[in-house]
C-alpha cells in the first residue's frame, strides 16, 4: 500500500514536472499577469487531477490539460473583470523566477518587443503561435486546445506570424 501511494505521488510529480511550465505560459498568455497565471496553472492542474476519470479519450494528456488550464484562465479573467492593461514588458522581465537585476541573461529589447506585440494579437492567432512555438504542439493539437480544426489552426498560426511581422516593422 505504501508503494502504491508512493507510485501514485511519483506519477503526479512526473506529470507536474513535465507540464507546469506549459500550463503557466498558456495561462500567462490569456491573463498577462504572472501571479494570476500561476494561480490559474495550479487550479487548472488540480481540476485535471480531480477529473482524471474523464480522461480516457483520444486527446493526449497535455492537450487535455492545456484545454482545462485555458478554460480556467478565461474563467478567472471573467471573474476579475479585465486583464492587466499594462504589458508584461513594463515590469522587470522574469527569467527562471529571478528579476533582470539578478540575472545576467535577459532577452534583448527587440525580443521582448516581439513578445509584447504577440500578446496583442487576436486570441486564436496568439494561442496558435504560442502553442506551436513555445509548446511544440502539432496543428491538430493546437486546434483541439483553441477549439478549431487543424486547418484553421494552421491558418491562425500563419496569419498571426504575418500580422506580428507587420507590427514589428512599424516604428
Amino acid at each position: 500500500m505504501e508503494r502504491a501511494r508512493a507510485g501514485d505521488e511519483a506519477a503526479l510529480n512526473r506529470l507536474v514536472s513535465r507540464h507546469h511550465e506549459t500550463a503557466y505560459r498558456v495561462a500567462l498568455g490569456i491573463l498577462r499577469d504572472p501571479e494570476m497565471a500561476a494561480d490559474a496553472a495550479q487550479d487548472g492542474f488540480l481540476k485535471a487531477i480531480r477529473g482524471l476519470d474523464g480522461f480516457r479519450g483520444e486527446a493526449r494528456f497535455r492537450t487535455w490539460l492545456l484545454t482545462i488550464v485555458s478554460n480556467e484562465a478565461r474563467g478567472q479573467l471573467r471573474r476579475r473583470g479585465r486583464r492587466r492593461e499594462t504589458a508584461l514588458d513594463d515590469v522587470a522581465p522574469v527569467v527562471d523566477g529571478r528579476t533582470a537585476v539578478d540575472d545576467q541573461v535577459v532577452a534583448s529589447q527587440e525580443a521582448r518587443r516581439a513578445r509584447r506585440l504577440l500578446e496583442e494579437l487576436p486570441e486564436k492567432q496568439r494561442m496558435a503561435v504560442q502553442l506551436r512555438l513555445d509548446e511544440g504542439l502539432s496543428f491538430k493539437e493546437v486546434g483541439e486546445v483553441i477549439g478549431s480544426s487543424e486547418g484553421a489552426a494552421r491558418v491562425n498560426f500563419h496569419h498571426g506570424i504575418r500580422k506580428l511581422r507587420e507590427r514589428m516593422e512599424e516604428p
Binding site: 500500500m1 505504501e2 508503494r3 501511494r5 508512493a6 507510485g7 501514485d8 505521488e9 511519483a10 506519477a11 503526479l12 510529480n13 512526473r14 506529470l15 507536474v16 513535465r18 507546469h20 511550465e21 500550463a23 503557466y24 505560459r25 500567462l28 500561476a38 496553472a41 495550479q42 492542474f45 488540480l46 487531477i49 480531480r50 482524471l52 476519470d53 480522461f55 480516457r56 493526449r60 494528456f61 497535455r62 508584461l88 522581465p93 522574469v94 527569467v95 523566477g97 529571478r98 532577452a107 534583448s108 525580443a111 521582448r112 516581439a114 513578445r115 504577440l118 503561435v129 506551436r132 512555438l133 513555445d134 511544440g136 496543428f139 494552421r154 500563419h158 506570424i161 511581422r165 514589428m168
Partner: protein
C-alpha cells in the same frame, strides 16, 4: 517534391526550438538561404524564442504539493476499513479467547473472516519511498491512467 514556402514555415517552430529532424533540416536551410520571406519568419520566431516566458521559481513544487493534497483528500473520501496494526493483533487474540471460553467444545476456535487489510496512515510529504517505482519512462497518458486507477 521540394517543399513550398508554406511547408517550410510550418516547420520553422521546430527549427527555432532545435527539434527539426535531420532529414528535413538540409532542405529547410537550403530554402531559407534563398527565400527572404521565409528567412524573416524564421528570424521573428527566433526573437520570440529568445524571450520565452518561464514559470516562476517554486511553481512546480507548489502545484505538486497541492496535487498531492488533492489526491489524499480523494482517498480520504473512499470507504474502507482502517485498522491500526496493534488493534488487529489485539482483536485476533480477543476473538480467540472468547471462542475458547464461550465455546469450549469448539476445538479449532472461531474462524476469523474478512480481516481488513492493514493500512498505514503515515506517508512522507515528498511522496518518495525507498524502492518505489520510477516513472521516468512512462508516457503522460500512462501516468494519468495510473493516477486515475490508483485513486478510483
Amino acid at each position: 517534391m521540394s517543399m513550398t514556402c508554406a511547408d517550410i514555415q510550418d516547420r520553422l517552430p521546430e527549427r527555432a526550438g532545435g527539434g527539426l529532424p535531420a532529414s528535413e533540416a538540409v532542405e529547410v536551410e537550403s530554402h531559407l538561404a534563398g527565400c527572404a520571406d521565409c528567412r524573416e519568419v524564421a528570424e521573428t520566431l527566433a526573437l520570440l524564442v529568445e524571450a520565452t516566458p518561464r514559470a516562476p521559481q517554486g511553481l512546480e513544487a507548489r502545484i505538486a504539493a497541492a496535487g498531492r493534497e488533492a489526491l489524499r483528500e480523494s482517498r480520504g473520501r473512499r470507504t474502507r476499513w482502517v485498522t491500526p496494526a496493534w488493534g488487529l493483533g489485539a482483536a485476533a487474540v480477543l476473538a480467540l479467547l472468547l471462542g475458547r471460553t464461550l465455546l469450549p467444545g469448539l476445538e479449532n476456535g472461531p474462524e476469523i473472516l474478512a480481516v481488513p487489510a492493514e493500512e498505514s496512515t503515515l506517508f512522507a510529504d515528498d511522496g518518495m519511498v525507498a524502492g518505489a517505482p520510477v516513472f521516468d519512462g512512462l508516457s503522460d497518458e500512462d501516468l494519468a491512467l495510473l493516477l486515475e486507477e490508483m485513486d478510483g
